[in-house]
Amino acid sequence: MSETTGRDVVPGKPIQIHDPSLRDGHHAVRHNLGPDQLRAYARAANAARVPVVEVGHGNGLGASSLQVGQARLSDDEMLSITREALTNSKLAVFLLPGWGTVQDIKNALAHEVDLVRIGTHCTEGSLAERHLGFLREQNVEAHAVLLMSHMASPDRLAKECALLVGFGATGVGIMDSAGHYLPADVTERIQAMRAAVDVPVMFHGHNNLGMAVANSIAAAEAGADILDACARGFGAGAGNTQLEVLVPVLERVGYQTGIDLYRLLDAADIAERELMPAPPTIDSISIVSGLAGVFSGFKNPVLDISAREGVDPRDVFFELGRRQVVAGQEDLIVDVALALSGARIGDKS
């Protein structure tokens, strides 16, 4: 990439880019990506030498549901299409214990998945013990990530990470699921985690407050080894860290990603054209979601239900934030909307 960075730096610390466009992006399109879409983007990311491409329903393996959205394709279909396309890049999957089980992991491993990420909410690392243990037995690269991490202190996150490494995680990280962090929040947390574990540390940003790239750079500077980013930011709510922005910015700062810039820009163009009706933007709802600390993926269901119940979706987000609702609790949106509209239980709405 040296031809485009415009800065003559000594090649610096390698940073691994992990691209969950085909997983987190599903939240933006109601889990509706089809075979051609998966194939087109996976091929483009592979050509750009993106090291890891993650695929699946937005909430991971086995998570297709009315609660979050039913996926157009099965896990098997998604994995066989992307596995075929990813000749260089690693294929990763995501699993939330409680949403998928070890059986779903076994099923994914049959597709020669290279890396499995196990996610739990920020203080719930112990839920991953069985799944990480299984992956260790299978000798599969297993990363553990803490969701909704803004709800826990740096110290608590560091302790959870140490616990997860004890269970067998070969990498640990945090997701800013609500897009709530400012760079100083990230620095503090990644430093605490970095000091607590010897395995690679990961950060996954969302862009609700326009901070995703800055937060990711803060993570790298604080010692993170793996950064998540999606093409055009394709992801829940305001989207994730924008991949084709983050990579050249990292290179300018002095990190090495091993990614081919032109091919990466091509992949991002393909993503915009093939995967999404429009690239994610920081709309009013996303700002409120980020401020309230509510999972970005709630955007579509909150808009749907607020319209149905005749309430202001911004009020719904702030109330969900007050209740500290986490990803997966989409069923509470109706209660909150009904409470705001003053309706009684069981009323025909």
Binding site: A63, S65, L66, Q67, P97, G98, W99, T101, V102, Q103, T120, H121, C122, T123, E124, S126, L127, E129, R130, M148, M151, A152, R308, R323, Q324, V325, V326, G328, Q329, D331, L332, V334, D335, L338, I345, G346, D347, K348, S349
Partner: protein, 303 residues
């Protein structure tokens, strides 16, 4: 035999609790209040754990030898509550089977006959190993069974959310079994094949109240038809779990949605942790039903 006879004369069954975690501790309190059940032993595996210390403080006999303590007891127990971990239950059932003990399993092992008191209470006395399914199963099945009896249902989804403080180590390592057992119970009691169970553990402080959200797909469903079925089923459950509260019941776009929250009625369980309360209340209800069946067969009077 004399001892056994005198117990029957007193109208109480001898009971042991195996496991002294969150579930075991609350079971102790509930058993001590029961007219039908006489708590003779609380067996854990480590005398230093807070559960066994708490039992000892309540003046209860305690043992630290796990299942072996029950086998070696002077008199076999009429009823044993297994509040350990799913992976141990089969072994416990095998070891206790020679004693004719009624084993009530609070782990999601799926080994014994599944019992949802308001649905298949009649099955209790025909079996010696009863599975209490899961807290999500105890909460959802009464409602889902009532709806599925009246309507053709194509798909059911059950999403359980419990507060982090209400989930002990056993449940955490058994989360897969929890999900599979809950789904299996819903399939078994509704006859609907396409079922999905999901569980969230909430880190929120103050803790989130235990909640089970059910979504059903079925063409005939209407808010009116659902409402009376759900209300009636909820009333039945409230006869032994008073904190069972229907928070939502509606049909939109061909999708029915029922949400139930359960608060604890007290004892050793904080209010938000209705998950522990409902499975324990159901288990006590089952043990008492068994006691009543035995008493009526023996011709004894209610105490």
């Amino acid at each position: 035999m004399n001892n056994n006879d005198s117990r029957k004369a007193a109208g109480q069954l001898s009971v042991a609790v195996l496991g002294a975690g969150l579930i075991g501790i609350d079971l102790m309190t509930k058993i001590m209040r029961s007219d039908y059940l006489d708590l003779r032993l609380v067996a854990g595996r480590d005398r230093a754990t807070s559960g066994l210390r708490q039992a000892a403080r309540l003046g209860l006999p305690v043992a630290a030898g796990g299942i072996q303590s029950l086998i070696e007891a002077e008199h076999p127990f009429d009823v044993v509550f297994d509040a350990t971990s799913a992976s141990y239950h089969a072994e416990h059932a095998e070891k206790l089977s020679p004693f004719g003990t009624m084993l009530i399993d609070l782990t999601p092992s799926r080994v014994g006959q599944m019992i949802i008191p308001t649905v298949n209470r009649a099955d209790i006395s025909w079996h010696r190993d009863l599975s209490m399914v899961s807290c999500g199963g105890q909460t959802s099945v009464p409602i889902l069974h009532a709806i599925a009896k009246a309507h053709k249902i194509d798909y059911i989804e059950v999403v359980t959310t419990a507060a982090t403080l209400s989930i002990g180590h056993g449940t955490r390592v058994n989360l897969d079994e929890y999900v599979e057992t809950t789904a299996e119970a819903v399939r078994c009691f509704t006859g609907v094949r396409d079922v999905k169970a999901i569980v969230n553990i909430s880190p929120a402080r103050p803790p989130a109240t235990f909640r089970v959200a059910m979504s059903l797909l079925g063409r005939e469903l209407t808010t009116d038809s659902m409402h009376s079925l759900v209300t009636e089923a909820a009333d039945e459950v409230r006869s032994f779990a008073s904190g069972f509260d229907v928070k939502a019941c509606s049909v939109n776009d061909g999708k029915a949605f029922v949400a139930v929250e359960v608060t604890s009625s007290g004892d050793q369980i904080p209010r938000f942790a209705g998950n522990l309360d409902i499975i324990n209340s159901a288990a006590i209800h089952v043990a008492e039903s068994y006691a009543a069946d035995r008493l009526s067969m023996a011709g004894a009077e209610k105490p």
